[in-house]
């Protein structure tokens, strides 16, 4: 269980408060207006944003003192998830050994992860030689390989076309199910939430609300969400 307990973040004029829990194995979409703090919330959980007050716990243990890499999670950012001068294979392998000194067994596991996301034979390519969808798949292969219990997605598929995005969401759903992982996913698109996330956290007006069932929420949105959805 992920607990955000009395969480407060203040950066200049920006304020965000959160008091909520996410059940293990849940898939939660994070929605709300731009600048409301969706990415900041993920940044706090992943260790890139300092908390002003409160604490974050995973299965009862506080995450706050841990540096980003020690937290039980994988994160994909909106952009820059791959290092441009490394091959797809090496970019995935970073998930096993940041110094890229791999045993034969580890190399097999990297290949298997690439196969699993549909990138057979493309490991030698650099990001510049991959399509947008293939870049997303490479990032997901690394998430798969790291096998952390918590997966955070900060709109990594926002630049993809509708059909490709649907493919990626299905792949995310499959990976999450296989690994029994918990998913937190920032999105602007209600259809994304309906597709793979049974629950939604609304971040608006300085506050992250506790998860609510997706269908109910989107059918009868509260005022802040309604204004955002239009």
């Amino acid at each position: 269980m992920l607990e955000l307990d009395g969480l407060r973040i203040e950066q200049g004029d920006f304020r965000l408060a959160a008091d909520l829990t996410v059940a293990e194995g849940a898939r939660v979409a994070i929605m709300g207006p731009s600048g409301g703090g969706k990415s900041t919330l993920l940044g706090a959980i992943s260790g890139f944003v300092e908390l002003t007050a409160g604490s974050i716990r995973w299965q009862g243990k506080p995450l706050d003192p841990l540096p980003p890499a020690k937290r039980p999670l994988s994160i994909l950012f909106q952009d820059h998830n791959l290092l441009p001068h490394l091959s797809a294979f090496e970019n995935v392998a970073l998930g096993l050994d940041p110094n890229l000194r791999l045993s034969a067994e580890q190399r097999r596991r990297v290949e298997a992860a690439l196969d699993r996301v549909g990138l057979q034979g493309l490991g030698a390519r650099r990001p510049a030689e991959l399509s947008g969808g293939q870049i997303s798949r490479t990032g997901l292969a690394r998430v798969l390989l790291r096998a952390r219990p918590l997966i955070l997605l900060d709109e990594p598929f926002s630049a993809l076309g509708p059909a490709l995005k649907t493919d990626m969401l299905d792949l995310v759903e499959a990976i999450t199910a296989e690994q029994e992982a918990t998913l937190l996913m920032v999105t602007h698109d209600p259809a994304d939430a309906r597709r793979i996330c049974p629950e939604v956290v609304v971040v608006a007006e300085g506050r992250a609300a506790p998860p609510a069932p997706t269908a109910d929420l989107l059918d009868n949105p509260p005022p802040a969400l309604a204004a955002y959805l239009g």
């Binding site: 940044g43 992943s46 260790g47 890139f48 540096p67 980003p68 890499a69 020690k70 994988s74 994160i75 950012f77 952009d79 820059h80 998830n81 791959l82 290092l83 441009p84 001068h85 490394l86 970073l94 998930g95 940041p98 110094n99 890229l100 650099r126 990001p127 510049a128 870049i135």
Partner: protein, 546 residues
């Protein structure tokens, strides 16, 4: 992140680069922090130590500021002001022509405008003499009409050489101003039917009012510390700069008190100028917006004027360089032994100086990004590096070390250190923006994956930094190769660098050897730049980013 104006913020503004917010800051490893602290201490000691020594030794009682010294102060200010004014006034038509014309070789000409940065001063002087000197082609042309030769030595020579160096710089700065005029304004002017006066009043004039003061100030500041040009083309009671007067007090009178007094005046002038400069918005380094569609071309008369500006500017820059090559080539292989000894000494200085520059740049750049207050400590110290002029620093170091250490033994390390400090602002300006971008894009990814600092340097930063780093170090190598500065205070016979040896040959009127040595120096400076840039920076852009 801009904060409200604090005292000193204006001064700091000229020595800090624009910085995007960082999403995550990697903690600075202790060893790196100590290294960066040591670099800051060395730079502060170099400036403040020299100033303190000079202030301690400058005894106004015994060393009276003589009439000749007042003349040196007046000449320093006069030549710097005139150099700045002439360079900028001439640069405006050249920049305008380059901005609104498209012709074959335009790109090459703009690149050439950056070349004086790596051109050794003495090579330029030899080139200027080949055109305007007693036996130069200009006087030969006059003689064929029966007109007596015009002497280049004195104020006119100093100005010609300074304009040779700074016309390209002024052109690049002003060209940048043209590049920043929004395309919409040009289209608007065209659609409203602006004539030349309206164009000048509403578009070009306001842009120049922003750009010209900064360009004037930068060139004025550069020329304030002119030494090598004044040494070779000036001199005498009517054309001596303070830097040159310091050297002469040293070399010919060995009057340390007087040298120190002059150094103190030079330092005061330099600092006063720097403070005035802090009030101006300084031009930034990069050229942008040059390749977009040219504004509609005006009529035939203007086309002719633009063409003339471009041809004259190109000739003014290229003819002296061509003559250096033409006159030097026959003597290149018959150069006397001492010249080759000087080449070896120069290579030693360059090697040490580039090594120091690499360490200084890396330590300061990483410490700037990886500490909370780094952008307020390491960056301004690195970007201002030398507030005191080379001769002031040389004088100070000489005073501090003279009775205890043999100046000849210190010549190499002191020259290399001062050269590294001179090049540091340029190297940092090249590296910091690339480093900031790399950290803004990948610092979080690297932290999320748990890359150690070593792995982060190797896998994330090095591929993105090596090109600007190579450029900065190449610049430093060329600068060090061509520098004629503090070395003249310390080196004795046998310890000369190539520029110093070239100066000796010129002074002894060994014209053929001097021509050969000038070409050799040109080749070595350009070669050092290209070699280091390629070696460190790699052959070509290796990746275009995701």
């Amino acid at each position: 992140m801009s904060t409200a104006a604090a005292p000193g913020a204006a001064a700091a503004a000229i020595v800090r680069l624009p910085a995007p917010p960082l999403p995550w800051r990697r903690p600075l490893p202790l060893a790196l922090g100590l290294a960066a602290g040591a670099v800051v201490l060395v730079l502060l000691a170099l400036n403040l130590g020299a100033l303190a020594a000079v202030g301690w030794r400058a005894d106004p009682g015994s060393a009276v500021f003589r009439a000749a010294d007042w003349a040196a102060l007046r000449f320093t200010l006069l030549q710097a002001a005139l150099s700045a004014l002439i360079s900028v006034v001439l640069a405006i038509p050249v920049a305008r022509a380059l901005a609104r014309r498209r012709f074959p070789g335009r790109g090459a000409l703009i690149v050439l405008m950056g070349a004086p940065f790596i051109l050794p001063t003495l090579v330029a002087v030899v080139g200027v003499l080949a055109v305007f000197g007693r036996a130069g082609i200009a006087n030969q042309a006059l003689a064929s009409f029966g007109i007596p030769p015009v002497s280049i030595y004195g104020l006119q020579g100093v100005l010609v050489a300074h304009v040779f160096f700074n016309l390209p710089l002024a052109t690049r700065l002003i060209l940048q101003g043209w590049g920043r005029i929004p395309a919409e304004h040009l289209r608007l002017a065209a659609s409203l039917g602006f004539d030349r006066r309206a164009m000048w009043r509403h578009v070009e004039g306001p842009m120049l009012r922003q750009v010209v003061p900064g360009a004037l100030a930068v060139i004025f500041l550069i020329c304030l510390t002119s030494f090598a040009v004044a040494l070779t083309l000036g001199g005498g009671p009517r054309a001596t700069t303070l830097e040159l007067a310091i050297y002469q007090a040293f070399r010919f009178e060995f009057d340390l008190g007087r040298a120190a007094l002059l150094a103190l005046v030079q330092a005061a002038v330099g600092i006063a100028a720097l403070l005035m400069l802090a009030r101006l918005a300084l031009p930034v380094g990069a050229l942008s917006g040059l390749d977009r569609a040219a504004p509609p071309a005006p009529g035939a008369l203007l086309r002719g004027l633009d063409g003339a500006a471009i041809v004259l500017a190109a000739a003014f820059l290229l003819v002296p360089l061509a003559l250096v090559v033409w006159r030097g080539a026959p003597h290149l292989l018959s150069l006397p032994g001492p010249v080759w000894t000087a080449v070896l000494q120069s290579l030693r200085v360059v090697a040490l100086s580039v090594t120091l520059l690499a360490l200084f740049t890396l330590a300061l750049a990483l410490a700037t990004l990886w500490t909370r207050r780094g952008a307020w400590v390491f960056e301004p110290v690195g970007l201002s590096a030398l507030v005191a002029s080379p001769m002031v620093i040389g004088t100070g170091l000489f005073i501090l070390t003279f009775p205890h250490a043999d100046p000849a033994r210190l010549a190499l390390p002191v020259t290399a250190l001062v050269n590294a400090a001179m090049a540091l602002p340029f190297a940092l300006r090249a590296v910091l923006p690339a480093l900031r971008q790399a950290e803004a894009d990948y610092a979080r990814l690297s932290a999320a994956l748990g890359l150690s600092t070593a792995a982060h340097l190797r896998l994330v930063l090095w591929p993105r930094l090596r090109r600007p780093f190579g450029f900065g170090l190449g610049l430093g190598a060329a600068l060090s190769m061509g520098d004629l500065g503090v070395i003249v205070l310390f080196a004795q016979t046998g310890g000369e660098t190539l520029p110093m040896q070239l100066h000796r040959l010129m002074g002894a009127y060994r014209t053929a050897d001097a021509a050969g040595a000038a070409l050799l120096l040109l080749i070595l400076a350009l070669g050092a730049f290209v070699l280091i840039e390629r070696l460190v920076g790699g052959k070509e852009p290796r990746h275009a980013g995701t």
